[in-house]
């Protein structure tokens, strides 16, 4: 069945020590998600390499190093782009070319399914999707979406990797939005529809949801933390995928994603 061959393709030492040093982890994608993951993985003992075209101008971190090229000795790659799908495709294609077929690619699959992403590359067995949005990295659980091409060995690599970060995995079907991003971003969308309809002020909407139904954060402050660009990316991906009016993005949310944080100062009551 080719299972033996597949097995030999997989490197199971992703989370452990590769011979002669720490496991090299390459991370590529959107800020601030890349930095969040790089810090966490660095703190867990990985040799973290952030791959960027132009070297970051920001402050240097001790937890990771930056390069312009993908290190071929990478034992696991993380692709963390949610907003710019052509860029994501380019990254996945480059990772696939630069790395040995034994190296697994873990890619955020919230705005584009892992299945679709694996259609961009030859060695489809190496790619597994997972849920990565800014602001949730301290959580003990992560959503993982294998594809029909993912053998158990690849999923084990992923499980071992997340265990090494102190996380359990929850395996869900490979669909746009996964579970939490879909529920949460739809709550945010509804809150922005309410804001757009002038039902209440942003502060009152947040207060109402925190005190009325015990939400840990108000939906608008939550969107601010995740980034309106990311929320918009999730919602418009859902809209494209599901093609129902239910997933229509609030026009005001689109403006908030495009226009910066003008709305924070503006009065909302007319």
């Amino acid at each position: 069945m080719g299972k033996a061959k597949r097995k030999s393709d997989q490197r199971s030492a992703v989370s452990g020590q590769t011979s002669g040093g720490r496991a090299v982890l390459s991370i590529i994608g959107d800020s601030p998600l890349v930095e969040e993951y790089a810090e966490l993985c660095g703190s867990k003992g990985y040799d973290v390499v952030v791959v960027r075209d132009s070297k970051g101008k920001g402050q240097k971190s001790k937890a990771f190093r930056e390069t312009g090229a993908i290190p071929p000795e990478t034992s696991l790659a993380l692709e963390l782009t949610n907003t710019d799908l052509p860029a994501k495709r380019k990254n996945i294609e480059q990772l696939s070319k630069a790395l040995s077929p034994a190296t697994a690619i873990l890619s955020s699959s919230i705005t584009v399914t892992a299945t679709q992403q694996s259609s961009w590359i030859d060695k489809k067995h190496r790619l597994v999707g997972f849920g990565a949005l800014p602001g949730f990295l301290d959580r003990a659980l992560v959503e993982v979406a294998p594809t029909v091409f993912s053998p158990p060995e690849t999923i084990e690599v992923v499980r071992t990797f997340f265990h090494s970060l102190g996380k359990e995995i929850e395996i869900v079907q490979d669909r746009v939005g996964m579970v939490l991003p879909r529920i949460l971003c739809q709550i945010i969308n509804e809150s922005i529809f309410a804001l757009q309809d002038d039902v209440a002020s942003p502060a009152d909407i947040d207060t109402a949801m925190k005190m009325g139904v015990n939400y840990p954060l108000g939906p608008i402050e939550w969107a601010d933390r995740i980034g309106f660009k990311n929320v918009y990316a999730v919602l418009s991906a859902l809209e494209d995928d599901l093609r129902e009016d239910r997933y229509r993005v609030a026009p005001l949310l689109k403006q908030m994603a495009e226009g910066g944080d003008w709305w924070k100062q503006s009065g909302t009551t007319s």
Partner: protein, 288 residues
């Protein structure tokens, strides 16, 4: 500021509001149609106050004092001295309209009339009055003596002063008021719809099991309860009818469309905790 508060309807919400007000040493005229209901409400308030003492939230003295401020009444004309009346009758537009008509003739012209509703239009309730500008919505959350939030609903004709007085009363009762326009679901019931609706869609599309969705929402999202646990607690029938009502009031807006899973569960009497089974089984709890 609020020497005499009227509460109309001695059910769960009316009792909770009375409880909260009595603890501020405000005299509350608690109205209902008969003594039996009022006696039951008073017992309930006393039980809740005792729980408050046991938990160290209030002192024995506060409890004793609070009880002296509750005045059960079976005649609406006894509410004449009240500066502010909160109506907490059943969620039925006809009943509420009828009550408000009677209330208007029973109280002073300056009295603010608030309706505690989660789903009815404040504007529609106020429409039966000669002076609709003094009617305002005050959506308390259950249990009303514990939950801090009050949604203050400005109807189409509600005056600014009326909204301000409802705001002041909420603060006076130690609540956290937010102001919302009179639109279906106000803030909370509207913005919370996708919490249940998307979870049901995810389940229906087989993206994950209900246990997985609850686990993900709690563990990654940090919500205190998962959507399926919460629907079981609220009652799947109640949650379904709130959704259906939002859907109808927005003339079929697809964001509020109920899910067939809800209807099927209601049809099969799997209503959640109260029937011993909903999305989960509650075998060790009493059913019915």
């Amino acid at each position: 500021m609020f020497k005499h508060l009227g509460v109309v309807g001695a059910g769960t919400m009316g009792a909770g509001i009375t409880h909260a007000a009595a603890l501020t040493n405000t005299d509350v005229m608690l109205y209902d149609i008969n003594d039996t209901i009022l006696r039951r409400a008073l017992e309930r308030i006393k039980t809740d106050l005792r729980t408050g003492v046991k938990k160290g939230k209030i002192t024995q003295e506060q409890m004793t004092e609070a009880v002296t401020h509750i005045h059960p009444r079976t005649s609406l004309s006894d509410l004449h001295s009240c500066d502010f009346v909160v109506e907490a009758a059943i969620e039925d537009l006809r009943v509420k309209k009828d009550l408000f008509k009677h209330l208007e003739t029973s109280v002073k012209t300056s009295t603010i009339l608030a309706t505690n509703t989660s789903s009815l239009s404040v504007t529609a309730i106020a429409s039966v009055l000669h002076r609709p500008e003094r009617v305002v919505g005050m959506h308390f959350f259950n249990p009303a003596h514990i939950m801090k939030l009050v949604e203050i609903i400005a109807g189409r004709n509600t005056s600014r002063e009326t909204v301000q007085k409802a705001f002041d009363l909420s603060k006076f009762l130690g609540k956290v008021p937010v102001v919302a326009k009179d639109t279906p679901g106000f803030i909370v019931n509207r913005v919370a719809r996708p919490f249940y609706g998307e979870a049901l869609r995810l389940l229906g599309e087989n993206v994950a099991t209900h246990e997985q969705i609850d686990r993900i929402v709690k563990s990654i999202g940090g919500f205190p309860m998962g959507p399926f646990e919460l629907m079981d607690l609220i009652g799947i029938d109640i949650n379904f009818s709130v959704t259906q009502s939002m859907f109808d009031q927005y003339f079929g807006e697809p964001r509020y469309r109920p899910h067939p899973i809800q209807k099927q569960m209601v049809d099969s009497n799997l209503l959640g905790r109260k029937t011993g089974r909903g999305f989960y089984e509650y075998s060790d709890e009493k059913a019915g």
